[in-house]
């Protein structure tokens, strides 16, 4: 799926801040951490602030804090802030059977995409990322133990 740069930045920033509840994070810190454009991030954070997903504090020590409920905010909630005209397929108005069928297939894709985005909360992403990191750590430990056992023989 091709998302606009701002949308990808917004998802990363939201998940990052939600994973660090109560912590104030600046556009500069986020840009440095993920290797993104600070200028673009600042604009994205303003939109997230207007949507009341983060609070923003101005000034030299300013930054943003996640203020929404990570179990309620979904990927869809973030994406619709930045992507326009995503769900505009109109199967009914197409003139021919072929055009209607093409529109129907595209609507099918939209329906699956929307259901997926609406069911993935920010907290789910955080949880799955932690599970993935734990699995990586466990597999590394198992590999290390296997190497150690092999070397001991």
């Amino acid at each position: 799926m091709k998302l606009q740069q701002a949308t990808r930045y917004a998802i990363l920033a939201t998940v990052h801040m939600a994973a660090n509840p109560g912590k104030q994070v600046s556009a500069y810190e986020l840009a440095a951490f993920y290797g993104l454009s600070q200028h673009h991030l600042a604009k994205v954070l303003r939109t997230l602030s207007m949507a009341k997903i983060v609070s923003s504090t101005r000034g030299p020590n300013g930054g943003c804090t996640f203020i929404a409920n990570p179990k309620h905010v979904t990927l869809y909630d973030i994406i619709v802030l930045f992507e326009n005209d995503w769900w505009d397929t109109e199967a009914e108005s197409e003139p021919s059977g072929v055009a209607r069928e093409v529109s129907r297939v595209l609507s099918e894709l939209d329906r699956i995409t929307m259901a997926t985005l609406r069911s993935v909360t920010i907290q789910t992403i955080i949880n799955n990322a932690r599970r993935s990191e734990l699995r990586d750590r466990d597999s590394t430990t198992i590999e290390q133990r296997a190497i150690e056992r092999a070397e001991a023989k």
Partner: protein
């Protein structure tokens, strides 16, 4: 400047931990409460289905049918099975149904039921667990994703048989 959170996104109460939820295999006296919970959720009463399910599953380790209790009251149920070659898939665990009494939600009942079902299925050899959810059931889909489930390799397809009888098979 600090801004107030949108009420729609405002934090909900976390699961209350004071209530002790226990999960066990369903017994015959649990069934009327399970039928009532299902009726509350789905709007249809199906005693034959639930009694039939109980009769078929009660002594089958591959088909866990579990009930959650709080203070001896049935507050939820989960039905699963460990099956081979369902839709051509090698053996895996399935979640067929899950339900929690509406006034007992936010107690972690569904999570406990899911974890206990997973434990039963692992005990009989399952390494993967699958389910099927209505595409518009965002709450249930969010729940399963929150437990760590993601899209699997299967996709459900359907068609109206009326369409088949109207057009015949000679289109292609």
């Amino acid at each position: 400047m600090k801004e107030k959170a949108d009420p729609q996104l405002a934090p909900v109460s976390e699961p209350q931990t004071s209530s002790v939820v226990s999960v066990d295999r369903v017994t015959l006296p649990d069934l009327p409460a399970i039928i009532a919970i299902d009726l509350d959720i789905t709007g249809s009463e199906k005693p034959e289905y639930w009694y039939g399910l109980y009769a078929a599953n009660q002594s089958d380790a591959n088909s866990p049918f579990l009930a959650a209790h709080v203070d001896a009251e049935v507050v939820g149920y989960i039905v699963g099975s460990f099956r081979a070659w369902e839709f051509g898939a090698p053996r895996c665990g399935w979640v067929h149904a899950i339900g929690v009494k509406p006034d007992s939600r936010k107690l972690g009942v569904a999570t406990k039921l899911f974890e206990e079902l997973a434990r039963h299925l692992m005990a009989v050899g399952a390494t993967t667990i699958r389910t099927m959810i209505h595409i518009d059931n965002q709450v249930l889909m969010s729940f399963f994703r929150f437990q760590g489930m993601t899209a699997g390799p299967f996709i459900e397809l359907e068609m109206s048989l009326d369409a088949l009888s109207e057009t015949g098979r000679d289109i292609a």
